[in-house]
Amino acid sequence: MRIIDANNITEEIKRMVIEANYFLPEDVMKALENARKNDDWKLSQDILDKIIENARIADTEQVPMCQDTGMVVVFLKIGQEVIIKNGYIGDAINEGIRRGYEEGYLRKSVVGDPIKRLNTNDNTPAVINYEIVPGDKLNIMVAVKGFGSENMSRLKMLKPSDGLEGVKDFILETVELAGSNPCPPIVVGVGIGGTFEKVTLLSKKALLRDLDSYNEDPFYADLEREMLERVNNLGIGPQGFGGRTTALKVNIEYFPTHIAGLPVAVNINCHATRHKEVTL
């Protein structure tokens, strides 16, 4: 048994939401620089240069890299031997967001009710996903998700007979429909399998995987490579102005599914897959 203070969780969340918004992850910067090197279309090069410059300004001046500082999505892996004291973990997380968005000069982008649409003015609540795991550690993954790209995401319950080709077509169709809207170059997170809700979580988790990583299963790693190539053959390009670099990476996660189904979800992100992780 191990005791973790809820106040620590609040402090870590506050730090992570600010840092996620100011500092582009290293794997993303590397992917952008590679894309810049390999894209020989002048218009694309100019835009990639500006996106890289923007990340450097945000980093040096400690300002948000994007005005859409996102809705906060939290993935928790709670060791079953952990006990949280001094408060409820969900409250501790939302308090961290409240403080981080105020002190970090971040935009408050959450409305309390999807129909009545009144801003909560502190960017809470977060979407929190809880998972109980073995051990005595608490792992917290924080993502700040912008909605220009979230709005372009799609889910489809394919038939088993649609097979691999059906999955590939759905991914390409989703990127095509998104076009210039999600601020390409994008990152494509794909979930395959599970159930209606599971497949979307898989696609979100896929987005949080490093851009220089591949699925551990060689079949899915190859599929990631193939789909990135095909996405980048669409010609949408940075900002949709035409060019090679439509996406920096396609990440795929899968899960067992029902004999009658083949769920597939495509979660789109802009180039900046803003996230931070800590283990307490």
């Binding site: 020989d40 279309w41 218009l43 835009i47 500006k50 996106i51 410059e53 923007n54 300004i57 945000a58 001046e61 300002v63 948000p64 890299m65 994007c66 005005q67 859409d68 500082t69 000069y105 971040l106 935009r107 408050k108 982008s109 649409r117 801003n119 003015n121 220009g148 709005n151 076009g179 210039s180 809207n181 999600p182 601020c183 010609g235 949408i236 390009g237 900002q239 949709g240 102005f241 035409g242 060019g243 090679r244 802009c270 180039h271 900046a272």
Partner: protein
């Protein structure tokens, strides 16, 4: 081509712009996005006066982050424009001449752009910290209760945009992509992998 333009815009000042041109805008413009547009159009529908001077105006679709000390406005990149499609035709009819955002807009809006000789510009989505540097002053002039979505009158100097839909209705998203794919195909036929020229 590169152009420098000042606001307010007129049919005349926009007529030479073509899709793909880079434009540096100086002058006053307004910020407004989803919630503010809804209120503006509610006013129009009820025959009431708008809180902004719409004749020749340029609206920037943005919800900025709060300003830090020394900034006029925080990070301020464009938001996705199609969400304003339901509202912008009515504003174009009243004299709106420029819109700045990102992403494709609807056919009905493009028709209105052509009818009035207006232009739809794109700012770089995701370059919010960079764009913020060309915003020199900002003042909330309506709907303060909307926070980031309030209407602000901002003064910009050499604010960098690209023409997406020009006053003839030509479309950079379509043309740019076609040109890239055409060139790619040509190079492939010529057996070259490098497309630099």
């Amino acid at each position: 081509m590169d152009y420098k333009l000042t606001t307010p815009f007129t049919r005349e000042s926009l007529k030479n712009l073509m899709q793909g041109d880079n434009v540096y805008i100086t002058g006053f413009m307004y910020t407004a996005r989803d919630a503010a547009h809804k209120r503006l159009v509610d006013l129009i529908d009820n025959g009431k006066e708008l809180p902004i001077d719409i004749k020749g105006a340029c609206i920037y679709y943005v919800g900025p982050t709060p300003a830090k000390d020394g900034q006029a406005l925080g990070s301020a990149g464009p938001t996705t424009s199609y969400r304003m499609d339901a509202y912008s035709p009515k504003l174009l009819d009243l004299g709106l001449m420029g819109m700045i955002g990102k992403g494709m807009i609807g056919e009905e809006v493009i028709e209105k752009i052509v009818e009035h000789g207006a232009v739809y510009f794109g700012a770089i989505g995701g370059a919010a910290a960079l764009i913020s540097k060309s915003i020199k002053s900002a003042e909330i002039i309506a709907y303060e209760d909307l926070g980031a979505e309030a209407i602000r009158k901002i003064y910009v100097e050499n604010f960098p945009v690209t023409v997406i839909i020009d006053s003839r209705g030509d479309n950079l998203y379509k043309r740019g992509r076609e040109e890239y794919l055409k060139r790619k195909m040509q190079r492939k036929e010529e057996g070259k992998s490098n497309m630099e020229d």
